[in-house]
């Protein structure tokens, strides 16, 4: 992967939140929570980088800071050589077309008052406002078929779809502007295991077909292992480990990663007993 020029490189990303103490007076200094403490990584074209870590370790915050949905307190993000952090709103709009996002809760990420067709068409209408109605509809129908939804459903509302179907609508919405990078913020953790597999495989197929790069956030190691080329392990806003997926899973270097991997249950009683014993040993050492 290192032979290719990175499409996205993040350098020393820092995000801080000010937290007001209870009963604080206006002149009191707020507490500062360092959610992301200087994270750097590269992402090549067509590559999938899995980001794992326990809840609250800054995975989603990092993703949102990269596309400037929340302000960051330092760091640089180079998108095809241009620094996103120094861009004005107008240039940023052009970039937003190329970086799309998929969200955790499939139903909550769709406006309940709009039909599936309107939801999928929104990015297209935002970035290409002059597209004719028929053209928009044609593209929406094509995409719905591509993500495995019947185009007949175009006038249905989100509450009439199942969780997996809603996530497919979310994916279609992310794809309609032909993006180069899709940030997946725990796209499958709200779904049933069998549906998870379908959605992950759909993402992998689409990636192969369209040459997308993926930033895949999850707290489930087995899903990440399946989809990622490389894995980055976050520990309280810091990188604990980053490397090839196979190496990270089978030969973890940092104790935090070892603990994470040991926390994954194995569907085999004998191996599971061994895992629990190992985990106890690890905990005793710590």
């Amino acid at each position: 992967m290192s032979t290719k020029e990175p499409i996205l490189s993040v350098r020393d990303m820092r995000v801080e939140f000010k937290i007001k103490k209870q009963n604080a007076l206006p002149w009191h200094q707020p507490d500062i929570l360092r959610a992301v403490k200087g994270v750097s990584f590269d992402l090549a074209e067509g590559e999938t980088l899995g980001i794992v870590g326990e809840s609250g370790c800054g995975k989603s915050t990092l993703a949102r800071a990269i596309i400037r949905m929340i302000p960051s307190q330092g760091g640089e993000v180079f998108w095809q050589g241009r620094d996103l952090m120094k861009m004005n709103e107008k240039d940023l709009l052009g970039i937003r077309k190329e970086i799309q996002m998929i969200f955790q809760d499939p139903l909550a990420s769709l406006n309940p008052r709009l039909t599936a067709g309107q939801i999928i068409a929104e990015p297209l209408k935002t970035h290409h406002p002059n597209t004719s109605k028929d053209e928009v509809k044609k593209q929406v129908r094509e995409l719905m078929e591509k993500v495995g939804l019947s185009a007949r459903m175009i006038n249905r509302y989100p509450h009439e779809f199942s969780g997996g179907q809603c996530q497919r609508i979310g994916i279609a919405r992310a794809l309609i502007t032909n993006p180069k990078l899709i940030i997946c913020d725990e796209p499958v953790s709200a779904l049933d295991v069998s549906v998870q597999a379908q959605v992950v495989n759909l993402l992998m197929d689409l990636q192969k077909e369209l040459g997308l790069s993926l930033l895949f956030i999850a707290h489930d190691l087995s899903v990440v292992k399946h989809i990622s080329n490389r894995i980055m392990v976050l520990e309280f806003g810091d990188i604990a480990e980053i490397g090839e997926a196979h190496d990270v899973i089978h030969n973890p270097q940092s104790p935090y990663t070892k603990e994470l991997i040991n926390a994954v249950p194995i569907p085999d009683p004998i191996a599971e007993r061994k895992r629990i014993a190992e985990r106890r040993a690890l905990e005793a050492k710590a």
């Binding site: 949905m69 996002m101 969200f103 929104e122 006038n155």
Partner: protein, 309 residues
């Protein structure tokens, strides 16, 4: 087993040709639930009746609202009672005018005040609240403190002052009611916006690069509508009450115009002379309308929010 191949093929063709399933929107669902609520449906019918009465009532009336029936003037208590024969269906008022025509006229003005007042509240209040809530931070603070300040002024006092200073007119009444009616609405809209703006579909729109004003109009306001619709049906009677109170005090609409409040005031003043119909008829329409609006509001709330029943 015999299978009618032709029929099966036809069925398959039908299924394939079935274009674009029509979705059931949340409002369509709510409408279905609303029409199952008997009290609300009866209220809706009554309200429609009041509307029809106010728009077409003057066609049925024998007397116009300006004519004075000289034949009964001075003997209202004896001759002015409601009767079909002399054309005074609701009786006559103290000046010998036909009460039926007067009630039609009063209904028009009271409904107009209620609906226009509520309309101002819905449009201004919703947009103001949604913008404040969505912007957040300092903008939100400043905008809501303005609402606080306006709300802390005793509005009845301001309204009376307005009417005294600029003269009594229906227009001034609208201005005064419009000034105060949107305050509560903006608070409600803001509160709802705060919970909506952290939903993922708003985040998705931000990530796509949709403009803030488009997000407010396309994603926030339609999702506010449920609450807004319910609140506005409760606001209409509130506006009617306010106008009636002002008119009851003698500051609202001016003769020859009239409203329910003004008519109730007149009727209450002549109660002791045995002309109870002058109080009863305006009061009847007033109460019917208020109750109808309240029941419709209740029904809408249940229909739009089935979880909260």
């Amino acid at each position: 087993m015999m299978v009618d191949v032709q029929k099966m093929e036809q069925l398959a063709d039908n299924l394939a040709a079935q274009e674009e399933v029509v979705g059931r929107s949340l409002f369509a669902d709510a409408r279905r639930r609303f029409f199952k609520n008997k009290a609300a449906v009866v209220s809706l019918i009554l309200l429609c009746g009041v509307f029809l009465f106010s728009t077409f009532g003057h066609m049925i009336a024998v007397w116009s609202n300006e004519e004075i029936d000289w034949g009964i003037l001075g003997q209202i208590a004896e001759l002015g009672a409601p009767s079909i024969e002399n054309g005074h269906y609701f009786g006559a008022d103290e000046l010998g005018r036909d009460l039926f025509a007067r009630v039609v006229q009063g209904t028009q003005i009271s409904l107009m005040v209620g609906i226009i007042g509520a309309l101002i509240a819905v449009v201004v209040g919703t947009l103001y609240g949604a913008i404040a809530g969505y912007s957040g931070g300092k903008v939100d603070n400043v905008m809501m403190r303005i609402v606080d300040i306006l709300q802390s002024i005793p509005y009845m006092f301001v309204l009376i002052l307005l009417l005294v200073v600029f003269g009594r007119s229906i227009f001034m009444l609208f201005v005064g009611i419009g000034l105060i009616s949107w305050l509560d609405m903006s608070r409600i809209a803001r509160g709802q916006t705060l919970t909506l703006k952290n939903k993922e579909f708003v985040e998705a729109a931000i990530a796509t690069g949709v403009k803030p004003i488009t997000i407010i109009l396309r994603h926030i306001v339609p999702n506010l509508l449920g609450v807004v619709v319910v609140y506005s049906t409760l606001l209409v009677p509130q506006m009617i009450l306010t106008e009636s109170f002002i008119s009851f005090l003698g500051l609202g609409v001016q003769e020859p115009n009239t409203s329910w409040g003004a008519m109730i005031a007149e009727g209450a003043g002549t109660m002791q002379y045995g002309t109870l119909w002058q109080l009863a008829f305006p009061m009847f329409f007033f109460i019917i309308t208020l109750f109808s609006f309240f029941f419709i509001g209740d029904g809408l709330r249940d229909a739009l929010d089935p979880k909260d029943r």
